[in-house]
Symmetry: C2
Subunit: 409 residues, 2 copies
C-alpha cells in the first residue's frame, strides 16, 4: 500500500504558501504573478515526480502519467480567495502531488496511475470554475471572451499576461481516467464540533442565486412626508425579513440561505433611498428543495411588488445543480478512514462548491474533507492541525489505491 | 413700500449659479474655489448696494449697514450640496441682497436697515451649520480644530486655502438686530401639490440621529448551517422592519423617519455578514414626540440584542432641537403673502434643517418658502418657476418692511 511522507506534504504546503504569503495565510488571486509562479513551481514538482507537466490554455496544471494504463485524476485548485487561507484548495493539490510520488515509489502502486491536477480559478476571480469547466467542455469561447475580473480586467488579457495565450486547452478523455478524487478542508465546523477527522462527501450542494432590485423614489428625508414616500430601503428590509421567515418554514434540514450583499442608493443618512438591491442565495443537495425555495422567492417578490409603493424585480443570476458523489468512491474513502481513524469520520454533504461537482458530470467523482480549525474559511487565519493534514493524506492515498485496484481487478 | 426688481433677482441668481455650474444645477461645496469666488462676488454686490462687506473667519459674508439704527438680519447659505440645485440657499441670499437694494432705493425704507448675510457650510461639508453657529457662539475652537471633510481635509486647512485664516469671527450683537429672516425653497411638494405659492414656516423640525451596530460572526455561506449562524444582516433587516412597524404606530402626524444608510460587512454574496450597521433618523417639531421615538428605538434595540444571537448596540449621533418661528414674523409673512397671492399660502413646518433654527436660539426668527417644482431638492434638476421666484421676493420684502416698521413704531 503506498505510504505518504507526512513531513514532505507539510513542507510542500508551506513552500506553496510562500507564493503570495499574507500574515499566516495567502493572497494569490488567479493569474496574479504569484499564482502564475506557483503554477510553474507545481509543474516542476510534477516533473520531479516523473510526470509530464502541462500547463494548458486556461492555466490548469496537469502531471501526465505515461506509465499507467488507466489513471485516477486527483487534485483541486491552487489559487486563493483574497487574503485567504494557506490550505483550502492547495491542500488537495499537494495531496495529489504526494499521491503521485507515493504510488511511483511503491511496488504495489505499479500500473496504478495517479494524475495530479491544479485547476484554475475555482475561486471565481474571472468566472465560474473556469479550469474544470474548460476541461469538461463546459466553458465556451464566448464566455472566455466576455469574462473579466471584478475590477474590469478581461480574462483574455489576464491569460496573455500569464503567458498562457495560444496554449491548447486540455480536454477530458473519459477513457483515460477511472474517475476524479478531490481533497479539501471542510470550511465549516461540523467535523471539529463532532471531534471527527475525516469527512466523506455524499453530495455537493447546488447554489441558486438571484438579484432583487427595488425601485422607489429618491427624496429629502426631512421634507418628504411618510405617506408620499416610495422608500426602496423600507421595501428591501421588509422583503428580506419575509424571505427569512418563509425560508425558515419551508427549508430542508440542510438548506442554507443567505442575503450577503445589500446596497442602498444613494446610501446617505438624510436621503430617502430611491433604489435598493440585494442578492439572495440558497443551497441544498436536493433539487426539489431548491425548486421549492425558488417558488417561494418568486411569490414573495411578486407579492411585495403588487403591494407597492415600490417596484420590485427578481433576476436569476446562476444555478449550479447538486452533484452526488460516486457511492463506490465514498465507500473507498470511508474504509480508509475507518482504518486510520476508527469511528472518527462521517458522511456529509458539501455546502461549498468544488471542482468535483463539475467533474462529476463526466466522471465518477469523490471528495474527502479534513477539519477546519474553528470552521474558519476564506480568511487568512484558516488552519488545520498538522496531525489532521498528515492523517488526511494517508487516508486519501489508501482510498485512491482502493479505487484503482477495484478498477483494475 | 420697497419694491423689488424681479428681473434683477433672477439675473443675480443666474450669475451666482455660474460659480460651479453643473448641468442645470450647481456643484459648489463649502470652501471649494468656486465657493470662495462666489463669496467674493457676493461681497462685491453688498458693497455695490452701499453696504460694508465683511467675510469673516469662517467664511460668512455680511453686508453691514451703517445707515440704520436697528437692523433686520436677512440671508441663507450660499454653498450647495454636491451636484445640487441652483436655488436652495442661494435664493435666500439673493433675496437678502435685493431687499438691501430695494430698501436703500425707497424713501419708505429710510432708517429701516437690511443686513444681508451668506452663511458658510449650512450643508455640512465640514461640520454642522458652521457659519450660523460661529455667529451665535455655538461653535467651539475645539470643534473647529477637529472638523474635517468626508474625504479627510481638515477644516483649518480648508479655511487657510480659502484665504480666511486669521480673519476675526463676526459674533452676534443682539442689540444690533431686531431679528433674522430667511427665505428658501420648500424642498418638498406640499405647496405645489396644494397649488399654493408661499409657505410660512411655523417651526423647524428637530432631527435625531443614531447609529446601530450589529456584531455577528462572519462565515462561509455554504458550509455554515443555519442553526450555527450569527448573521448580522438578518438581525439588521429584522430590526429595521421592527423600527418601521413601531414608528408607524407611535409617530405624530408630521413625524418622518428614515433608514437611509445601511452597510453589510463584507457585503459579499457568499459570505454570512459578520457585521452590519445602519443610521436611524427621525424628525419632528415636537420634542415630546422625538423623545417617544427615542424611547421606542432604545427599547427595540435592547430587545433585539437580548434575543440574540447577534450583539446590537445603539449610539446617538446628533440631536438638533426643534425651533419655533416667531409668531409676529409669521404674521408679517402671512399678511404679505395674502396681499400678493390671496389664498395661495399656508403655514407649515420645515422638515429640513436651516440656519434659522440656529439663529432662533438668539434672535426672533422667521422663514418663508417658495415652491419646489416636483418637490425636487439636493439634485441638479431642482427648480422653481420664475414667477414664483419673483413673487416670493416681493412677499419677502413686504414682510421685512412690516417687521422693521413694527419694531420702529
Amino acid at each position: 500500500m503506498p505510504t505518504i511522507d507526512g513531513a514532505r506534504v507539510v513542507a510542500d504546503l508551506r513552500r506553496l504558501a510562500d507564493f503570495g504569503r499574507y500574515k499566516t495565510g495567502v493572497h494569490r488571486p488567479t493569474y496574479s504573478p504569484e499564482d502564475v509562479a506557483s503554477r510553474q513551481w507545481l509543474a516542476e514538482q510534477f516533473a520531479a515526480a516523473g510526470l509530464d507537466p502541462v500547463i494548458d490554455g486556461i492555466g490548469n496544471v496537469f502531471g501526465r502519467n505515461r506509465q499507467a494504463a488507466r489513471r485516477l485524476l486527483v487534485g483541486s485548485h491552487s489559487e486563493t480567495q483574497p487574503y485567504a487561507g494557506w490550505l483550502d484548495g492547495a491542500l488537495g493539490v499537494v495531496y495529489a502531488l504526494e499521491l503521485a510520488r507515493a504510488f511511483a515509489a511503491d511496488p504495489a502502486g505499479a500500473g496504478l496511475g495517479i494524475e495530479p491536477v491544479a485547476w484554475a480559478d475555482e475561486e471565481g476571480h474571472y468566472g465560474n470554475m473556469l479550469g474544470s469547466r474548460s476541461f469538461t467542455d463546459g466553458l465556451t469561447d464566448a464566455e472566455i471572451a466576455a469574462a473579466a475580473s471584478r475590477d474590469g480586467k478581461p480574462l483574455r488579457q489576464a491569460l496573455a499576461d500569464a503567458g498562457y495565450a495560444g496554449r491548447p486547452y486540455q480536454r477530458l478523455d473519459p477513457s483515460r481516467h477511472v474517475g476524479y478524487l478531490e481533497a479539501h478542508i471542510e470550511q465549516g465546523a461540523t467535523l471539529e464540533t463532532a471531534g471527527q477527522r475525516i469527512g466523506i462527501v455524499t453530495a455537493i450542494i447546488g447554489a441558486w442565486n438571484y438579484w432583487v432590485t427595488v425601485t422607489g423614489e429618491q427624496n429629502h428625508a426631512g421634507t418628504t412626508e411618510m405617506r408620499r414616500r416610495k422608500d426602496a430601503g423600507v421595501a428591501l428590509v421588509r422583503l428580506a425579513t419575509a424571505i427569512h421567515d418563509r425560508f425558515t418554514a419551508i427549508a430542508g434540514p440542510r438548506t442554507v440561505w443567505t442575503i450577503g450583499r445589500m446596497l442602498l442608493d444613494p446610501n446617505a443618512p438624510s436621503i430617502v433611498p430611491g433604489r435598493a438591491e440585494m442578492q439572495v442565495q440558497f443551497r441544498d443537495t436536493d433539487t426539489a428543495i431548491l425548486a421549492r425555495c425558488e417558488d417561494a422567492l418568486v411569490e414573495l417578490v411578486a407579492a411585495a411588488d403588487r403591494a407597492g409603493p415600490c417596484r420590485i424585480a427578481l433576476t436569476p443570476l446562476s444555478k449550479s445543480l447538486p452533484a452526488a458523489m460516486d457511492s463506490r468512491f465514498q465507500a473507498a474513502i470511508a474504509e480508509a478512514a475507518e482504518r486510520h481513524a476508527p469511528g472518527l469520520h462521517r458522511h456529509m454533504p458539501s455546502g461549498a462548491g468544488h471542482d468535483a461537482q463539475v467533474l462529476a458530470r463526466r466522471l465518477p467523482s469523490g471528495m474527502m474533507f479534513v477539519p477546519s480549525i474553528g470552521g474558519v474559511s476564506h480568511h487568512w487565519s484558516e488552519d488545520t492541525s498538522e496531525a489532521d493534514i498528515v492523517l488526511g493524506a494517508q487516508v486519501f492515498a489508501d482510498a485512491a489505491t482502493a479505487i484503482l485496484q477495484n478498477e483494475v481487478d
